[in-house]
Amino acid sequence: MKILFDLFITFAKMGAITFGGGYAMLPILQREVVEGKHWATDEELADYYAIGQCTPGIIAVNVATFIGRKYAGIAGGIIATFGVVFPSLVIISLLAGVIETFSALEWVKHAFAGIRVCVCVLIFNAVVKLFAKAVTDKKTLCLYVLILAGAAGLNISPAVFVVVAGIAGIILKGITKS
């Protein structure tokens, strides 16, 4: 019980001080989990990130589940994950209520119109970084263009694109080998 409580508190603390996605959490995990608690080694952490990226879901959640499970079994995996999402739940729920209340005010509307410009730039910058890692040859470029056209033009669930792209990856890699 004490172990699970410790897991929850440690991961909640990390959720509360990380801004941004799962990658922003890496240095904090190294300090808290590897150097502080010795729940995992640097190598294990690297493995968890690699797998967290190629399994469904949010990377931070995937890594939390991994570490919790390793340290305290299945219950540990679940508790660590609850810990990491707990601060988000509290902060965002409170904030969303406040924002919705004030969103009718003229100056708040202007502020968010300005913020949306920034969001576009942030997404653009994120896409540029992802693109460099994902589109490495002509085949991946074709996939990118086709799926962009499909996602922008057709009203199809993103899940369909994910399944199709996974199969396409296996087929395209298969062709390269033979």
């Binding site: 801004f19 949010i58 589940t65 924002i99 899940a159 694109f161």
Partner: protein
Amino acid sequence: MMIYAKLFWEFFKTGLFAMGGGMATLPFLYDISDRTGWFTHQQLADMIAVSESTPGPIGINMATYSGYLTAGYSGAVTSTLGLITPSIIVILVVATFLNAFKDNKYVNAAFYGLRPASTAMITAAGLVVARVTFFADGVHWKAVVLAVILLLLTNTLKATKKLHPVVWIVISAVAGVAFSF
């Protein structure tokens, strides 16, 4: 009660199919918005800004926010639980076969295709935000100017490149109020 079941299911699907971090959930959120009308495209854009400027993983923040807009505080908890449930199940299974999974050639090959697909879907979601922002009714020139300035500051200037996104979000909010966007 129905709304919570639906909310859980929609975010369960998102958690199951979104690969590669918080931004990868964005195309799914747009899809949910289009089909259910629980929240608007504009609210989604604001949600991204709030999620980037508050602690916690972006994907979780966006799910909590969407859930709140749909069904209040219990909605926020429901959507977040929906999003993390597939992760927990998949990771608990994968952890058991850790090494086999890591070096599996089919997994690697699938990701050869999934990475460009995920990037393409995030691009498409970005285009939707861009349309609301720059071309809501006619071209919004003030927004275009701000975007160019932000692009330069975040990509070219060494002194400003590494600054946290929250800095840019605050500056943009001030600019929005000052020049009545």
